[in-house]
């Protein structure tokens, strides 16, 4: 299982890397729009004045045996949720991964949406499906804020829990700044218009952010599983060595006792010293 997980990590990592250009380019288009003076009014950007209901999007795995991977994410989500509920803010749970559903359903939380079978190798279509559901709820005003809880893949050795605000989006200017700004180019032309482009771009941006969270989580899950399985293999090997030693010493002890008995028996039969040795040899052979 360790080896299987190892190949999966490599694959998941490649996928995460391959997806990076799209995310980078979409951010760069938003930069262009910010420079082109797109008005920053879009339902996905608008923060409601009061927050009455927060949605938590929890990305966990479908399967266990991945060390602390699932429990870390799930606990963080529950902690966040309890803290907000204590302030009197309602919650909505959007769960990705069977493990997350099992946990929350068992504890009688209301689960509003649940997706499974997408975390192993996430596809863009699943990201779109989830993103569409979330955006719709947000735009309709059913939820006022969306928090995304997932595992960030830093390297094969390090994965970090990430709790991020997913919606409303930061303002267009902030997104552009994070993207690095870049040199100022000549004025852009937009078709149909800066606002028109922004309107169709933002949903894509939301999808792409969710998609990269899914890819990160997937790579993290496999890395965690590989580590857990490596630990399991190592432990089993240690156990084998220990038990092997115990077996040997027990065997040795029993042989020693047996020889002692035989020698004792030969002694009791009496006779000369040479004779004794012969008898012992005879008895040993019989045994």
């Amino acid at each position: 299982m360790e080896l299987i997980a190892a190949t999966r990590v490599a694959k998941a990592q490649t996928r995460a890397n391959e997806a990076r250009p799209y995310a980078a380019r979409i951010t760069s288009v938003i930069e262009d729009l910010a420079k082109g003076g797109a008005s920053a009014t879009h339902p996905l950007l608008e923060a409601p004045e009061t927050i009455g209901k927060v949605a938590y999007v929890v990305i966990a795995g479908d399967r266990g045996l991945a060390g602390p991977y699932n429990s870390t994410v799930i606990r963080a989500a529950e902690r966040e949720l309890m803290a907000r509920t204590a302030e009197g803010i309602d919650y909505s749970l959007i769960l990705i991964g069977k493990k997350a559903r099992d946990y929350f359903a068992f504890r009688n939380y209301t689960v509003d949406a649940f997706y499974e079978g997408i975390t192993d190798t996430p596809h863009y279509d699943s990201a779109r499906e989830v993103a569409e559901y979330i955006s719709e709820q947000f735009i309709d005003g059913d939820i006022d804020q969306v928090i995304l809880i997932f595992t960030e893949f830093v390297s094969i050795g390090t994965q970090k829990l990430a709790v991020r605000q997913f919606l409303p989006l930061e303002s267009v200017e902030t997104i552009a700044e994070v993207g690095g700004g870049g040199e100022l180019t000549a004025e852009f032309e937009f078709e149909p218009s800066a606002d028109g482009v922004l309107e169709s771009l933002l949903p894509r941006y939301v999808e792409s952010r969710l998609f990269s969270a899914l890819l990160d989580s997937s790579a993290s899950e496999h890395a965690n599983r590989q580590r857990a399985m490596k630990a399991a293999t190592d432990n089993a090997e240690e156990l084998i060595t220990k038990l092997g030693r115990q077996l040997s010493s027990a065997r040795q002890a029993s042989i020693t006792t047996e020889i002692m008995e035989i020698v004792g028996g030969a002694e009791a039969l009496g006779g000369g010293d040479d004779d004794k040795i012969d008898k012992v040899a005879q008895l040993l052979q019989q045994n």
């Binding site: 391959e18 799209y22 380019r25 004025e187 032309e189 028109g196 169709s200 771009l201 999808e207």
Partner: protein, 133 residues
């Protein structure tokens, strides 16, 4: 003078090339880019995207279903979650999809989904026909 063009889907970079000319369809109609074009950002329609190689010998044709085109400093990026190269299109499947969409439209003329599906299937067929011709 050439334009560096990149076709990027959310999952990977589909295609890169040095191009002489790029033709796509945005919401205002078809638009062609030659080297030195002013910076431009547009929303793509369901249509064919044509890329002429730098020596003019090869034409790369893609069926693009939605996305964006960005061009600045002779660097063109086409962002699309569904972009299919002519070789990857299965004409039989596209034809089947076209027939299904037509039937759905015949039953309900206001079916927007079916209209979109029909348009997509037609673009796919166009692109694949051109490639085989």
């Amino acid at each position: 003078m050439s334009i560096h063009v990149e076709f990027v889907s959310p999952e990977r970079i589909i295609f890169t090339a040095e191009a002489k000319e790029i033709i796509v369809r945005t919401s205002d109609g078809e638009i062609g880019f030659m080297p030195g074009h002013v910076p431009f950002v547009g929303v793509l329609q369901v249509a064919e995207a044509r890329i002429y190689d730098i020596d003019g010998s090869t034409l790369h044709s893609f069926a693009v279903h939605r996305g964006f085109v960005e061009i600045a400093n002779d660097h063109c990026t086409i962002l699309s979650d569904v972009a299919e190269a002519a070789a990857d299109i299965d004409p039989a499947r596209a034809e089947l999809a076209q027939r299904r969409a037509e039937e759905a439209l015949a039953a309900d003329n206001d079916d927007a989904d079916a209209a979109n599906a029909l348009r997509r299937a037609q673009v796919r067929l166009d692109v694949s026909k051109k490639a085989s011709a």
